[in-house]
């Protein structure tokens, strides 16, 4: 198991953002995380990568209890993530952005190695021609790719992708889905939060559904699409779910 989340509870004042969330993630899988807005998906990411400390429960990453560890510790251990709202280092070049990931993440590269890794990764996500530009000058789709490139450059064991498809047009989505698959080919385990159902149903090995901070369902995409609770809480129309499965 690369990640074990055991009975994790997170409260903000009176709001129960996560309650008793438990799941295991074996190495090499793509795990989809879906649920309505405010269900606690991003909060779960923030708890896993040390931005928040959970009130209850434990997070075990790569065999070690990492509950309450700072995010930079987790980054060193092999966790990387992208943000739902992109956070480029605007005044640095695209290449330098990626080098930060390579230098300070699990890869722990020196500057020279990092520059090489950066060029390689930028090629991989299709930003090679923008390497010299300032990150602030990219458009949204490119910034999302940059987030991804930074995370991959760290050579993580586990990658958390927070809505990398949101705001992209259909051809960009198709591109990105291919990229996600290719990342998995590199042996990186992935958890992805996504609202674009056709994409997540296609790409995930397993899906978790959160609603009001509780895990309401877990299973293969087929099981999730036909799960009564999920349809009620999130998908809505059962036929829609079926259509999504067929990738329309």
């Amino acid at each position: 198991m690369i990640l074990q989340v055991q009975g994790v509870t997170k409260r903000f004042g009176g709001l129960q953002a996560l309650s008793q969330v438990t799941f295991d993630l074996p190495q090499g899988q793509i795990l989809g995380l879906i649920g309505p807005n405010g269900a606690g998906k991003t909060t779960l990411f923030n708890v896993i990568d040390g931005v928040y400390t959970p009130e209850e429960g434990r997070i075990i990453f790569d065999g070690k209890d990492v509950t309450g560890k700072k995010s930079y510790h987790l980054a060193r251990m092999g966790l990387a993530r992208t943000h739902q709202i992109v956070r480029p280092l605007n005044e640095l070049s695209v290449r330098e952005n990626v080098m930060v990931g390579a230098c300070f993440g699990h890869a722990n590269a020196n500057l020279k190695e990092a520059a090489k890794v950066a060029d390689e990764v930028l090629e991989f996500v299709g930003l090679a021609s923008k390497a010299e530009q300032l990150a602030g000058s990219l458009n949204v789709a490119q910034k999302k790719r940059l987030e991804m490139a930074r995370a991959i450059a760290a050579k993580p064991k586990l990658l958390l992708l927070d809505e990398v498809l949101a705001g992209l047009n259909p051809s960009e989505i198709a591109n990105m889905v291919e990229t996600v698959r290719a990342i998995r080919e590199r042996g990186i385990t992935i958890i992805m939060i996504e609202h674009v159902m056709s994409a997540i149903m296609n790409v995930s090995d397993r899906i978790l559904v959160l609603d009001f901070g509780k895990l309401i369902a877990e299973g293969t995409p087929e099981e999730i699409a036909s799960n009564e609770k999920v349809i009620q809480a999130y998908l809505g129309d059962p036929k829609l779910a079926e259509r999504l499965m067929q990738g329309e």
């Binding site: 930079y72 980054a75 943000h83 280092l89 080098m99 930060v100 990931g101 010299e132």
Partner: protein, 323 residues
């Protein structure tokens, strides 16, 4: 040739400093040496502060505290404890670095305006402490016994020696600044400046990186303080901790371009020469501060990144060689 091209900014900076450092030697004019002393002091202080302000993005409004503390520690060791200038200077730098480490661990948790306010508080607190600290002479300060200078070949020779030490320290600051800017440590600082939370998530250990940046930016001002007050012959709280010097340091960095190696050098030299020119001109001598103010306003409004920052923004080609 490749080596030259790769480090253009460093060569450019060192060349400018060498010209400024050697000019008084060539002309043999003691007055020009004094002018250049002031200019180089500003260059060194601005370049030091730039490590924190420009690279790390933390604005310190009280940076002169390190200059003053180093000055007091150095002065005390030379005049009362009869240490040599060299060891006293190192002690001044160490004292400044230690203060930065202790204070930094506490106040670098604050961000933005809160941090800036805290640094002013630190400066005022240290000033108030020394005002009431009898071994350092309290509010009246201390005066150097003239005999001290004999060991350095008399007062005149001591003045000259102080200038050469300052030139060496300024070169050292610029080397440190360049090293930081082009190192992995510096990349971490730039990441913190751009987005501290994102940097931490990428693995930058922000608390320790910030603290070390603060310490690095404090040591040389401490050493310069020791040399400055050795040369000055007298020290008192008002001279050692003037808040407006801190603010001028920030203005110089903004003029030249924050976060670049060459910017603070250009900004500090430009600011000092401008002030000099205004002060001696019969037309402007009473308005030099007003004119400086208007100039600053124009720069903040129209080229907020400073001169070097503005040039860098123009094209990727410039960004490659000018940092």
């Amino acid at each position: 040739m490749k080596f030259l091209r790769q480090h253009t900014s460093l060569w450019l900076s060192l060349a400018v400093l060498l010209v400024m450092g050697l000019w008084p030697v060539i002309t043999g004019n003691a007055l020009q040496r004094e002018t250049m002393f002031t200019v180089l002091r500003s260059v060194a202080l601005a370049s030091s502060l730039n490590i924190l302000l420009g690279y790390t993005g933390y604005v310190s409004f009280g940076h002169v505290v390190f200059f003053g503390l180093g000055g007091y520690v150095g002065f005390y060791l030379i005049s009362v404890r009869h240490w040599s200038l060299w060891t006293a200077m190192l002690a001044g730098g160490a004292a400044a670095g230690l203060l930065a480490y202790l204070v930094g661990s506490a106040i670098l948790r604050l961000r933005g305006a809160y941090f800036a306010l805290a640094t002013i508080g630190v400066n005022e607190a240290v000033r108030a402490f020394i005002n009431n600290f009898e071994p350092f002479g309290g509010p009246t300060g201390m005066t150097m016994n003239f005999k001290v200078y004999k060991a350095y070949g008399g007062a005149g020779a001591a003045l000259e020696l102080s200038f050469y030490i300052l030139v060496a320290l300024t070169l050292l600051v610029v080397l440190i600044s360049y090293w930081v800017r082009t190192s992995k440590f510096g990349l971490g600082l730039l990441a913190i400046r751009e987005d501290e939370d994102a940097a931490e998530i990428m693995g930058v250990v922000a608390p320790s990186a910030k603290t070390w940046a603060y310490v690095l930016s404090a040591i040389i001002p401490g050493m310069i303080g020791a040399v400055f007050f050795f040369k000055n012959g007298t020290i008192e709280p008002g001279l050692a901790f003037p808040l407006h010097t801190s603010i001028e340091m920030i203005v110089m960095i903004m003029l030249g371009g924050q976060g670049t190696v060459f910017g603070p050098i250009l900004g500090a030299a430009g600011y000092e020469f401008l002030r000099d020119a205004l002060l001696v001109s019969p037309l402007f001598k009473n308005m030099q501060l007003a004119i400086s103010g208007v100039l600053l306003l124009i720069i903040v409004l129209f080229i907020p990144r400073g001169l070097v920052g503005w040039l860098r923004q123009r094209s990727a080609k410039v960004r490659r060689w000018l940092i």
